[in-house]
């Protein structure tokens, strides 16, 4: 079996972003960039499936600027075999519909048995790409996955849903989007980081795939959320109850 894992270069999750001075977008200058945490979990899951002998090959695909090679190398260091970079201009924001269309073309070329990806990227927080790609490729989807079991024809997936878990059985090929609890990604070892440098990365553009990735949604402005009025410290349970009752009027 072959698995395709899509990954995204995003601002590191420890970085607190701010709007640009003219509020036209998010200020991304000189920020630490990383592999999106949910994508990292997807790569780890693929590597574990390979270690269990369920699959033979892991192909990583990313859509982004030339610099996205850094994140692709990180995925290769975890244990993916080879990669495809769908290269775009660094200032072009590719939206989930455009990404889903590109992935559909790569899917048709590579013909994997399983497609793994993160449930959302932590920049746009859209939580759309997996579902949209599944629709375009006419595949079943197991979103927000916390557990996978694969046999030659099906994948059984446990999904994190409101209030608990849901289990589905999907015909392969299928699309799985990872939630946080699917696994805990490993740290890449130094020998694996060195080995990853030699693994092949093919480059292609959306135009070569025949996909129009022009954005459908325009960002009008980006702002900080409104501040909450500053609170006060109370010194005792009695004072807290008095405030909740007479000032906040919630009890």
């Amino acid at each position: 079996m072959k698995v395709l894992v899509s990954v995204k270069r995003v601002v590191d999750y420890n970085v607190k972003v701010s709007p640009k001075d003219d509020n036209s977008g998010v200020n991304l200058n000189n920020l630490k960039m990383s592999l999106n945490p949910f994508c990292e979990i997807a790569v780890e899951e693929a590597v574990r499936l390979k270690e269990k002998g369920v699959i033979e090959e892991i192909v990583v695909v990313s859509i982004g600027p030339q610099e996205a090679q850094e994140q692709i190398r990180a995925a290769l260091a975890i244990g993916a075999d080879r990669a495809i970079l769908i290269k775009v201009e660094s200032d072009l924001e590719i939206q989930p519909l455009g990404i889903a269309k590109c992935l559909k073309e790569v899917f048709d070329q590579e013909k994997p048995d399983l497609v793994l990806m993160g449930k959302q990227s932590i920049d746009g927080d859209n939580n759309q790409t997996g579902q949209m790609f599944a629709a375009l490729a006419n595949l079943p989807q197991g979103t927000f996955a916390s557990e996978l079991t694969i046999n030659p024809t099906h994948v059984t997936v446990t999904r994190e849903v409101d209030g608990g878990f849901q289990t589905l059985r999907l015909t392969l090929p299928a699309v799985i989007t990872s939630d946080l609890r699917l696994n805990e990604p490993r740290y890449a070892s130094l020998p694996n980081i060195m080995k990853a440098k030699k693994k092949p990365i093919d480059e292609i553009t959306p135009e070569e795939l025949g996909v129009d990735v022009s954005p459908r949604i325009t960002v009008v402005s980006v702002d900080f959320p409104p501040d909450r009025p500053e609170g006060i410290k109370v010194s005792s349970v009695d004072e807290l109850l008095e405030k909740l009752k007479n000032e906040a009027k919630v009890i």
Binding site: A100, Q131, F133, E160, D162, G163, T171, R228, G231, D238
Partner: protein
Amino acid sequence: MNVLVISEHNNNEIKESTMHAVAAACKLGNSVDLLVAGFNCSIAATNGAKIEGITRVLLADSEPYENQLAENIAPLIQQIAPEYSYVLMAATTTGKNIIPRAAALVDSQPMSDIISIVNEDTFKRPIYAGNVIATIQSSDKIKFMTVRTTAFESVLKKSSSAPIEAIEESFDLEKSEFVKNDIASSERPELTSARVIISGGRGMLNEQNFKLLEDLADKFGGAVGASRAAVDSGFAPNDMQVGQTGKIVAPDLYIAVGISGAIQHLAGMKESKVIVAINKDPEAPIFKAADYGLVADLFDVIPELEEKLIV
């Protein structure tokens, strides 16, 4: 403007989250249809017809729609979407599962987690875990979106009923099969609709200590939540998690107990009307988000709070 709201239901009742999506829909257009798709769900359609603001209920009652599998519901939405300018669903896990799939089928770029409607094509939504708010404008003819339930008030029921029309077509991709649901059952209200939430963090130290919060929540008639740190430490199940990657809540009163206040957690609860923080570390970031902060040992003050509380 015609608006379509996709409902969530249990075959009998329309879920509370859908009522918030209807409220958002009513701001977008004067004709709001409600799709009730499922199997043996005609009672849900009857109840949906009594929701304030609903013009018409579309009932798609067919076996493939049982359990609202996205693979089968999405082509149904694709079929009826051309009549509408907007297709909405609450930003629940079900809404997030279905809306993007349906939007892709009609070549529309959906908008997730809408918190505000600026005008007919411009909306606000949180990005970067709620650190910043983006105002976005859509150029798509049919606009698909999920709406944050906490950002829109619920709608009421009315005594009269909107007409119900049946949809006969049935779509079945035949590639996905429902196996089971493991939904936690609890006497307490659901997190997303509770008026009062008591949440515990790593400071609770272990699973047994969450009992203190449960007792306090029961006195309030409220729900119990947890931070990601508490869930990851095994103190609480994951469906109790409040935060960017858990539930987004906005109760009247949110009491954060032993929670430091990571950005991830704040993103899930900072829209609460009144926030109380109880933590023994006076430097904990949670105090910056709190209306009332009490620097104290939670194991002293939670029992005292429960004892002295008169609801």
